[in-house]
Amino acid sequence: MRSVSVIGIGETKIGRFPDKSLRELLLAAGSKAIDDAGIGREEVEALFMSNYNAQSFSGQGHLGPLTAEVLGLGNIPTLRVEGACASGSLAFRQGLHAVATGLYDVVLVGGVEKMTHQSTEAVTAGLAGASDIYLEAGLGATFPSIFAMIANRYFHEFGNVRHEMALCAVQNHENALLNPDAQLQKRITVEQVKNGVSIASPFTIYDCSLVSDGSAFVVLAATDVAKDVCRKRLVEVVGCGQAGDTLTLGSKRSLTTFDATVLAAKQAYVMAGIRPSQIDLAEVHDCFTITQIINSEDLGFFAKGTGAYALAEGKTALHGEIPINVSGGLKAKGHPIGATGLCQIYEIVTQLRGEGGARQLKKADIGLTHNIGGTAATCVVSIFRGR
Protein backbone atom coordinates (compact mmCIF):
# COMPACT_ATOMS: atom_id res chain seq x y z
CA MET A 1 0.00 0.00 0.00
CA ARG A 2 1.28 3.47 -0.91
CA SER A 3 1.39 6.41 1.43
CA VAL A 4 -1.47 8.88 0.84
CA SER A 5 -1.67 12.57 1.77
CA VAL A 6 -4.33 15.25 1.93
CA ILE A 7 -3.35 18.05 -0.48
CA GLY A 8 -6.53 20.09 -0.57
CA ILE A 9 -9.46 20.95 1.71
CA GLY A 10 -12.58 23.06 1.31
CA GLU A 11 -15.83 23.54 3.16
CA THR A 12 -18.81 25.87 3.19
CA LYS A 13 -19.79 27.64 6.34
CA ILE A 14 -22.03 25.19 8.18
CA GLY A 15 -25.46 26.57 8.98
CA ARG A 16 -29.04 27.02 7.97
CA PHE A 17 -29.17 27.80 4.25
CA PRO A 18 -32.68 26.76 3.19
CA ASP A 19 -32.41 28.85 0.01
CA LYS A 20 -29.12 27.41 -1.17
CA SER A 21 -29.32 24.44 -3.53
CA LEU A 22 -27.27 21.25 -3.29
CA ARG A 23 -25.47 22.47 -6.42
CA GLU A 24 -24.49 25.75 -4.77
CA LEU A 25 -23.15 23.99 -1.67
CA LEU A 26 -21.21 21.45 -3.76
CA LEU A 27 -19.73 24.11 -6.03
CA ALA A 28 -18.58 26.29 -3.16
CA ALA A 29 -16.86 23.55 -1.12
CA GLY A 30 -15.58 21.46 -4.04
CA SER A 31 -14.00 24.42 -5.84
CA LYS A 32 -12.28 25.53 -2.64
CA ALA A 33 -10.72 22.08 -2.15
CA ILE A 34 -9.46 21.83 -5.74
CA ASP A 35 -8.08 25.39 -5.65
CA ASP A 36 -6.48 24.71 -2.28
CA ALA A 37 -4.73 21.65 -3.74
CA GLY A 38 -3.36 23.81 -6.53
CA ILE A 39 -4.30 21.27 -9.17
CA GLY A 40 -6.42 21.46 -12.30
CA ARG A 41 -9.84 19.82 -12.41
CA GLU A 42 -8.58 17.47 -15.09
CA GLU A 43 -6.13 15.99 -12.61
CA VAL A 44 -8.92 14.53 -10.46
CA GLU A 45 -9.20 10.87 -11.49
CA ALA A 46 -12.19 9.74 -9.43
CA LEU A 47 -14.83 11.13 -7.07
CA PHE A 48 -16.06 9.50 -3.87
CA MET A 49 -19.19 11.32 -2.77
CA SER A 50 -20.83 11.07 0.62
CA ASN A 51 -24.46 11.84 1.29
CA TYR A 52 -26.91 10.43 3.78
CA ASN A 53 -30.37 11.30 2.59
CA ALA A 54 -30.76 13.87 -0.21
CA GLN A 55 -33.16 11.41 -1.82
CA SER A 56 -35.62 11.97 1.02
CA PHE A 57 -34.74 15.52 2.10
CA SER A 58 -34.57 17.01 -1.43
CA GLY A 59 -35.74 14.28 -3.81
CA GLN A 60 -32.24 14.18 -5.31
CA GLY A 61 -30.35 10.93 -5.85
CA HIS A 62 -27.29 10.11 -7.98
CA LEU A 63 -25.02 12.51 -6.10
CA GLY A 64 -21.86 11.33 -7.88
CA PRO A 65 -22.65 12.57 -11.39
CA LEU A 66 -24.39 15.65 -9.96
CA THR A 67 -21.20 16.66 -8.18
CA ALA A 68 -18.94 15.78 -11.12
CA GLU A 69 -21.09 17.95 -13.37
CA VAL A 70 -21.17 20.87 -10.94
CA LEU A 71 -17.38 20.78 -10.55
CA GLY A 72 -16.64 20.13 -14.22
CA LEU A 73 -14.86 16.85 -13.60
CA GLY A 74 -15.76 15.32 -16.96
CA ASN A 75 -16.18 11.58 -17.42
CA ILE A 76 -14.39 10.33 -14.32
CA PRO A 77 -15.88 7.46 -12.30
CA THR A 78 -17.99 8.51 -9.32
CA LEU A 79 -19.41 6.63 -6.38
CA ARG A 80 -21.91 7.70 -3.71
CA VAL A 81 -21.28 6.32 -0.23
CA GLU A 82 -23.80 6.08 2.63
CA GLY A 83 -23.15 5.05 6.21
CA ALA A 84 -25.50 7.34 8.14
CA CYS A 85 -23.58 10.03 10.09
CA ALA A 86 -20.30 8.26 9.23
CA SER A 87 -20.87 8.62 5.47
CA GLY A 88 -18.19 11.30 5.09
CA SER A 89 -15.38 9.35 6.65
CA LEU A 90 -16.52 6.18 4.87
CA ALA A 91 -16.20 7.97 1.52
CA PHE A 92 -12.80 9.24 2.66
CA ARG A 93 -11.74 5.67 3.43
CA GLN A 94 -12.81 4.51 -0.06
CA GLY A 95 -10.80 7.31 -1.65
CA LEU A 96 -7.84 6.52 0.56
CA HIS A 97 -7.86 2.86 -0.49
CA ALA A 98 -8.22 3.73 -4.16
CA VAL A 99 -5.03 5.82 -4.01
CA ALA A 100 -3.16 3.54 -1.60
CA THR A 101 -3.65 0.54 -3.86
CA GLY A 102 -2.33 2.46 -6.85
CA LEU A 103 -5.60 2.61 -8.77
CA TYR A 104 -5.46 6.42 -8.90
CA ASP A 105 -2.91 9.10 -8.02
CA VAL A 106 -5.36 11.91 -7.22
CA VAL A 107 -8.98 11.62 -6.08
CA LEU A 108 -11.62 13.97 -4.71
CA VAL A 109 -13.76 13.04 -1.72
CA GLY A 110 -16.83 15.13 -0.98
CA GLY A 111 -19.82 15.24 1.29
CA VAL A 112 -23.01 17.23 1.39
CA GLU A 113 -26.27 17.44 3.29
CA LYS A 114 -29.15 19.86 3.04
CA MET A 115 -31.77 19.51 5.75
CA THR A 116 -32.93 22.80 7.19
CA HIS A 117 -35.52 23.47 4.47
CA GLN A 118 -37.49 20.54 5.91
CA SER A 119 -39.70 20.55 9.01
CA THR A 120 -38.27 19.20 12.26
CA GLU A 121 -40.64 16.23 11.92
CA ALA A 122 -39.37 15.40 8.42
CA VAL A 123 -35.74 15.72 9.56
CA THR A 124 -36.35 13.53 12.63
CA ALA A 125 -38.10 10.92 10.49
CA GLY A 126 -35.33 11.07 7.87
CA LEU A 127 -32.65 10.59 10.51
CA ALA A 128 -34.59 7.76 12.20
CA GLY A 129 -33.89 5.72 9.08
CA ALA A 130 -30.36 5.26 10.43
CA SER A 131 -31.86 3.21 13.30
CA ASP A 132 -34.11 0.17 12.80
CA ILE A 133 -37.34 1.59 11.42
CA TYR A 134 -39.46 -1.27 12.81
CA LEU A 135 -37.76 -2.31 16.04
CA GLU A 136 -36.79 1.21 17.16
CA ALA A 137 -38.41 4.07 15.21
CA GLY A 138 -41.58 1.94 15.09
CA LEU A 139 -41.73 2.09 18.89
CA GLY A 140 -41.32 5.86 18.98
CA ALA A 141 -37.52 5.95 19.27
CA THR A 142 -35.61 8.88 17.83
CA PHE A 143 -31.82 9.32 17.97
CA PRO A 144 -31.97 11.65 20.99
CA SER A 145 -34.00 9.05 22.90
CA ILE A 146 -31.64 6.21 21.89
CA PHE A 147 -28.56 8.11 23.11
CA ALA A 148 -30.51 9.29 26.16
CA MET A 149 -30.95 5.62 27.09
CA ILE A 150 -27.19 5.20 26.67
CA ALA A 151 -26.65 8.19 28.98
CA ASN A 152 -28.93 6.79 31.68
CA ARG A 153 -27.15 3.44 31.54
CA TYR A 154 -23.79 5.26 31.77
CA PHE A 155 -25.06 7.09 34.90
CA HIS A 156 -26.04 3.71 36.37
CA GLU A 157 -22.64 2.14 35.70
CA PHE A 158 -20.27 5.05 36.32
CA GLY A 159 -22.16 7.76 38.20
CA ASN A 160 -24.33 10.68 37.21
CA VAL A 161 -22.39 12.96 34.85
CA ARG A 162 -25.24 15.34 34.01
CA HIS A 163 -23.11 18.30 35.06
CA GLU A 164 -20.11 17.19 32.99
CA MET A 165 -22.34 16.59 29.94
CA ALA A 166 -23.46 20.20 30.26
CA LEU A 167 -19.81 21.27 30.44
CA CYS A 168 -19.17 19.35 27.21
CA ALA A 169 -21.82 21.42 25.41
CA VAL A 170 -20.45 24.63 26.93
CA GLN A 171 -16.90 23.76 25.85
CA ASN A 172 -17.83 22.93 22.25
CA HIS A 173 -19.80 26.17 21.98
CA GLU A 174 -16.83 28.04 23.41
CA ASN A 175 -14.57 26.53 20.71
CA ALA A 176 -17.05 27.39 17.95
CA LEU A 177 -16.78 31.09 18.90
CA LEU A 178 -13.33 31.00 17.27
CA ASN A 179 -14.38 29.12 14.15
CA PRO A 180 -15.81 31.31 11.37
CA ASP A 181 -17.31 28.22 9.65
CA ALA A 182 -19.32 27.23 12.74
CA GLN A 183 -23.10 27.29 12.64
CA LEU A 184 -23.66 28.42 16.23
CA GLN A 185 -21.33 31.07 17.54
CA LYS A 186 -23.08 31.55 20.82
CA ARG A 187 -21.71 31.23 24.34
CA ILE A 188 -23.90 29.09 26.60
CA THR A 189 -23.84 28.30 30.31
CA VAL A 190 -24.15 25.07 32.28
CA GLU A 191 -27.45 26.34 33.72
CA GLN A 192 -28.83 26.98 30.22
CA VAL A 193 -27.93 23.44 29.17
CA LYS A 194 -29.51 21.89 32.25
CA ASN A 195 -32.67 24.01 32.04
CA GLY A 196 -33.13 23.85 28.26
CA VAL A 197 -36.17 22.37 26.56
CA SER A 198 -36.45 18.70 27.53
CA ILE A 199 -36.02 16.30 24.63
CA ALA A 200 -35.59 12.86 26.19
CA SER A 201 -34.37 12.48 29.76
CA PRO A 202 -31.62 13.28 30.66
CA PHE A 203 -31.13 15.36 27.45
CA THR A 204 -32.25 18.90 26.85
CA ILE A 205 -31.99 20.55 23.45
CA TYR A 206 -28.45 21.69 24.37
CA ASP A 207 -27.21 18.09 24.65
CA CYS A 208 -28.05 17.51 20.99
CA SER A 209 -26.01 18.33 17.89
CA LEU A 210 -27.41 20.66 15.26
CA VAL A 211 -29.52 20.25 12.16
CA SER A 212 -27.33 21.73 9.43
CA ASP A 213 -26.71 22.37 5.78
CA GLY A 214 -23.20 22.24 4.44
CA SER A 215 -20.59 20.61 2.30
CA ALA A 216 -16.93 19.67 2.67
CA PHE A 217 -14.31 18.19 0.33
CA VAL A 218 -10.77 16.87 0.52
CA VAL A 219 -8.30 16.10 -2.25
CA LEU A 220 -6.18 13.00 -1.71
CA ALA A 221 -2.98 12.19 -3.57
CA ALA A 222 -0.27 9.58 -3.44
CA THR A 223 2.38 11.12 -1.18
CA ASP A 224 5.05 10.73 -3.89
CA VAL A 225 2.90 12.78 -6.26
CA ALA A 226 1.77 15.17 -3.53
CA LYS A 227 5.34 16.14 -2.65
CA ASP A 228 5.71 17.76 -6.08
CA VAL A 229 2.31 19.45 -6.07
CA CYS A 230 1.52 20.50 -2.51
CA ARG A 231 2.51 24.06 -1.62
CA LYS A 232 1.44 23.69 1.98
CA ARG A 233 2.50 21.42 4.80
CA LEU A 234 1.87 17.90 3.57
CA VAL A 235 -0.62 16.05 5.77
CA GLU A 236 -0.14 12.31 5.50
CA VAL A 237 -2.89 9.83 6.34
CA VAL A 238 -0.92 7.51 8.60
CA GLY A 239 -3.76 5.40 9.98
CA CYS A 240 -7.34 4.51 9.17
CA GLY A 241 -9.57 1.87 10.72
CA GLN A 242 -13.17 0.89 10.33
CA ALA A 243 -15.41 -1.34 12.39
CA GLY A 244 -19.11 -2.03 12.74
CA ASP A 245 -21.64 -3.12 15.32
CA THR A 246 -25.27 -4.23 15.40
CA LEU A 247 -27.80 -1.69 14.17
CA THR A 248 -30.09 -1.80 17.20
CA LEU A 249 -29.34 -0.56 20.70
CA GLY A 250 -30.73 -3.59 22.53
CA SER A 251 -28.55 -6.07 20.65
CA LYS A 252 -25.24 -4.43 21.59
CA ARG A 253 -22.79 -6.17 23.93
CA SER A 254 -22.40 -2.96 25.92
CA LEU A 255 -24.30 0.33 25.89
CA THR A 256 -21.51 2.28 27.54
CA THR A 257 -18.54 1.12 25.44
CA PHE A 258 -18.83 1.50 21.69
CA ASP A 259 -17.13 -1.64 20.37
CA ALA A 260 -16.97 -0.19 16.84
CA THR A 261 -15.00 2.80 18.17
CA VAL A 262 -12.61 0.61 20.16
CA LEU A 263 -11.92 -1.68 17.19
CA ALA A 264 -11.63 1.03 14.52
CA ALA A 265 -9.29 3.02 16.80
CA LYS A 266 -7.13 -0.02 17.46
CA GLN A 267 -6.69 -0.60 13.72
CA ALA A 268 -5.82 3.05 13.13
CA TYR A 269 -3.33 3.22 16.02
CA VAL A 270 -1.61 -0.01 14.91
CA MET A 271 -1.41 1.15 11.29
CA ALA A 272 0.03 4.51 12.37
CA GLY A 273 2.30 3.03 15.03
CA ILE A 274 0.98 5.68 17.38
CA ARG A 275 -0.37 5.58 20.95
CA PRO A 276 -3.41 7.61 22.07
CA SER A 277 -1.13 9.77 24.25
CA GLN A 278 0.76 10.92 21.13
CA ILE A 279 -2.34 12.51 19.54
CA ASP A 280 -2.17 16.32 19.68
CA LEU A 281 -5.85 16.94 18.93
CA ALA A 282 -8.96 15.01 17.96
CA GLU A 283 -12.29 15.65 16.34
CA VAL A 284 -14.57 13.22 18.15
CA HIS A 285 -18.14 12.42 17.12
CA ASP A 286 -20.40 14.36 19.50
CA CYS A 287 -23.91 13.83 18.14
CA PHE A 288 -24.87 14.13 21.83
CA THR A 289 -22.83 15.25 24.83
CA ILE A 290 -22.67 11.73 26.29
CA THR A 291 -21.41 10.41 22.93
CA GLN A 292 -18.29 12.58 23.07
CA ILE A 293 -17.59 11.48 26.64
CA ILE A 294 -17.95 7.74 25.90
CA ASN A 295 -15.91 8.00 22.69
CA SER A 296 -13.12 9.92 24.44
CA GLU A 297 -12.76 6.84 26.62
CA ASP A 298 -13.11 4.29 23.82
CA LEU A 299 -10.43 6.09 21.79
CA GLY A 300 -8.02 5.46 24.66
CA PHE A 301 -7.63 9.08 25.80
CA PHE A 302 -9.15 8.36 29.22
CA ALA A 303 -9.95 5.25 31.26
CA LYS A 304 -13.54 3.98 31.12
CA GLY A 305 -15.75 5.94 33.46
CA THR A 306 -13.39 8.92 33.71
CA GLY A 307 -14.00 10.78 30.43
CA ALA A 308 -16.56 13.14 31.91
CA TYR A 309 -14.30 14.13 34.80
CA ALA A 310 -11.33 14.61 32.46
CA LEU A 311 -13.47 17.00 30.44
CA ALA A 312 -14.53 18.86 33.59
CA GLU A 313 -10.84 19.23 34.56
CA GLY A 314 -10.21 21.00 31.25
CA LYS A 315 -8.14 18.21 29.71
CA THR A 316 -10.10 18.34 26.45
CA ALA A 317 -10.35 22.14 26.26
CA LEU A 318 -8.71 24.23 23.53
CA HIS A 319 -5.32 24.30 25.24
CA GLY A 320 -5.77 21.20 27.38
CA GLU A 321 -3.88 17.90 27.37
CA ILE A 322 -5.82 16.50 24.40
CA PRO A 323 -8.00 19.19 22.81
CA ILE A 324 -11.24 17.65 21.50
CA ASN A 325 -13.48 19.32 18.95
CA VAL A 326 -11.61 22.59 18.71
CA SER A 327 -13.81 23.21 15.65
CA GLY A 328 -16.91 23.29 17.86
CA GLY A 329 -17.83 19.72 16.91
CA LEU A 330 -21.18 18.50 15.69
CA LYS A 331 -22.63 20.34 18.67
CA ALA A 332 -21.71 23.87 17.60
CA LYS A 333 -19.83 23.79 14.28
CA GLY A 334 -22.75 21.70 13.07
CA HIS A 335 -23.73 18.29 11.74
CA PRO A 336 -24.43 18.30 7.99
CA ILE A 337 -24.66 14.48 8.09
CA GLY A 338 -23.01 13.50 4.78
CA ALA A 339 -20.34 16.18 5.15
CA THR A 340 -19.63 15.77 8.87
CA GLY A 341 -16.75 13.27 8.63
CA LEU A 342 -15.07 15.51 6.05
CA CYS A 343 -15.65 18.62 8.17
CA GLN A 344 -13.69 16.83 10.90
CA ILE A 345 -10.82 16.14 8.50
CA TYR A 346 -10.99 19.77 7.35
CA GLU A 347 -10.35 20.91 10.92
CA ILE A 348 -7.48 18.49 11.54
CA VAL A 349 -5.73 19.42 8.30
CA THR A 350 -6.27 23.13 9.04
CA GLN A 351 -4.66 22.72 12.47
CA LEU A 352 -1.79 20.56 11.20
CA ARG A 353 -1.02 23.22 8.60
CA GLY A 354 -1.08 25.94 11.25
CA GLU A 355 -3.99 27.70 9.53
CA GLY A 356 -6.36 27.63 12.52
CA GLY A 357 -6.29 31.39 13.12
CA ALA A 358 -7.63 32.33 16.56
CA ARG A 359 -8.18 28.69 17.48
CA GLN A 360 -4.77 27.44 16.29
CA LEU A 361 -3.10 25.06 18.71
CA LYS A 362 0.56 25.55 19.57
CA LYS A 363 1.44 21.94 18.89
CA ALA A 364 -0.47 20.25 16.09
CA ASP A 365 1.53 17.51 14.39
CA ILE A 366 -0.66 14.44 14.84
CA GLY A 367 -4.45 14.62 14.68
CA LEU A 368 -7.27 12.09 14.83
CA THR A 369 -10.81 12.04 13.47
CA HIS A 370 -13.53 9.79 14.84
CA ASN A 371 -16.89 9.48 13.11
CA ILE A 372 -19.78 7.13 13.94
CA GLY A 373 -22.97 6.31 12.08
CA GLY A 374 -26.29 5.52 13.75
CA THR A 375 -26.07 3.98 17.20
CA ALA A 376 -22.29 3.58 16.85
CA ALA A 377 -23.06 0.89 14.26
CA THR A 378 -20.46 2.18 11.78
CA CYS A 379 -17.20 3.77 12.86
CA VAL A 380 -14.19 5.16 11.04
CA VAL A 381 -11.11 6.48 12.83
CA SER A 382 -8.33 8.20 10.89
CA ILE A 383 -4.96 9.54 11.99
CA PHE A 384 -3.10 12.34 10.23
CA ARG A 385 0.49 13.49 10.58
CA GLY A 386 1.99 16.73 9.30
CA ARG A 387 5.30 16.18 7.49
Binding site: L135, L139, A148, I199, P202, F203
Partner: protein, 73 residues
Protein backbone atom coordinates in the same frame (compact mmCIF):
# COMPACT_ATOMS: atom_id res chain seq x y z
CA UNK B 1 -44.17 -16.28 27.64
CA UNK B 2 -42.24 -14.37 30.32
CA UNK B 3 -44.57 -11.80 31.90
CA UNK B 4 -41.93 -9.80 33.79
CA UNK B 5 -38.94 -7.90 32.51
CA UNK B 6 -36.27 -5.68 34.05
CA UNK B 7 -35.47 -2.15 32.93
CA UNK B 8 -31.85 -2.17 31.70
CA UNK B 9 -32.08 1.51 30.73
CA UNK B 10 -34.79 3.99 29.82
CA UNK B 11 -35.64 7.52 28.74
CA UNK B 12 -38.71 9.65 29.25
CA UNK B 13 -39.34 11.12 25.82
CA UNK B 14 -40.75 14.65 25.92
CA UNK B 15 -40.07 15.65 22.31
CA UNK B 16 -40.20 12.55 20.21
CA UNK B 17 -41.48 11.12 17.03
CA UNK B 18 -44.35 12.90 15.25
CA UNK B 19 -46.20 9.59 14.95
CA UNK B 20 -46.26 9.29 18.75
CA UNK B 21 -47.22 12.88 19.51
CA UNK B 22 -50.48 11.97 21.24
CA UNK B 23 -48.61 9.60 23.57
CA UNK B 24 -46.01 12.21 24.62
CA UNK B 25 -44.48 12.07 27.17
CA UNK B 26 -43.80 8.37 26.72
CA UNK B 27 -41.20 6.00 28.12
CA UNK B 28 -38.82 3.97 26.01
CA UNK B 29 -36.70 1.32 27.65
CA UNK B 30 -34.32 -1.49 26.93
CA UNK B 31 -35.96 -4.35 28.81
CA UNK B 32 -34.03 -7.41 29.85
CA UNK B 33 -35.74 -10.80 29.94
CA UNK B 34 -33.67 -13.93 30.60
CA UNK B 35 -30.48 -11.91 29.89
CA UNK B 36 -31.79 -10.87 26.46
CA UNK B 37 -32.14 -7.12 25.88
CA UNK B 38 -34.76 -5.58 23.63
CA UNK B 39 -36.15 -2.11 23.12
CA UNK B 40 -39.71 -1.68 24.34
CA UNK B 41 -42.23 1.01 25.22
CA UNK B 42 -43.47 1.14 28.79
CA UNK B 43 -47.04 2.41 29.18
CA UNK B 44 -48.66 4.07 32.14
CA UNK B 45 -46.03 6.73 32.93
CA UNK B 46 -47.14 9.64 35.10
CA UNK B 47 -45.09 12.30 36.86
CA UNK B 48 -45.43 10.23 40.01
CA UNK B 49 -43.72 7.22 38.43
CA UNK B 50 -40.33 6.60 40.00
CA UNK B 51 -38.44 4.95 37.15
CA UNK B 52 -35.22 3.18 38.07
CA UNK B 53 -32.85 0.90 36.22
CA UNK B 54 -33.37 -2.61 37.58
CA UNK B 55 -37.10 -2.21 38.34
CA UNK B 56 -39.58 -4.82 37.11
CA UNK B 57 -42.16 -4.10 34.42
CA UNK B 58 -45.05 -6.27 33.25
CA UNK B 59 -45.52 -7.46 29.68
CA UNK B 60 -48.75 -6.10 28.19
CA UNK B 61 -48.55 -7.37 24.63
CA UNK B 62 -47.05 -6.58 21.26
CA UNK B 63 -47.70 -3.68 18.93
CA UNK B 64 -48.63 -4.24 15.30
CA UNK B 65 -44.95 -4.71 14.41
CA UNK B 66 -44.40 -7.34 17.09
CA UNK B 67 -42.52 -4.95 19.39
CA UNK B 68 -42.93 -5.54 23.13
CA UNK B 69 -45.07 -3.17 25.19
CA UNK B 70 -44.76 -3.22 28.97
CA UNK B 71 -46.51 -1.45 31.84
CA UNK B 72 -45.21 -0.07 35.13
CA UNK B 73 -48.11 -1.65 37.02
Amino acid sequence: MEKRGTIYTYSIVQNGSEAFKEKTPYVLAVVEVNRRKKMARVEGYTEATDIRIGMSVTFLGEDERGNPIYTFV
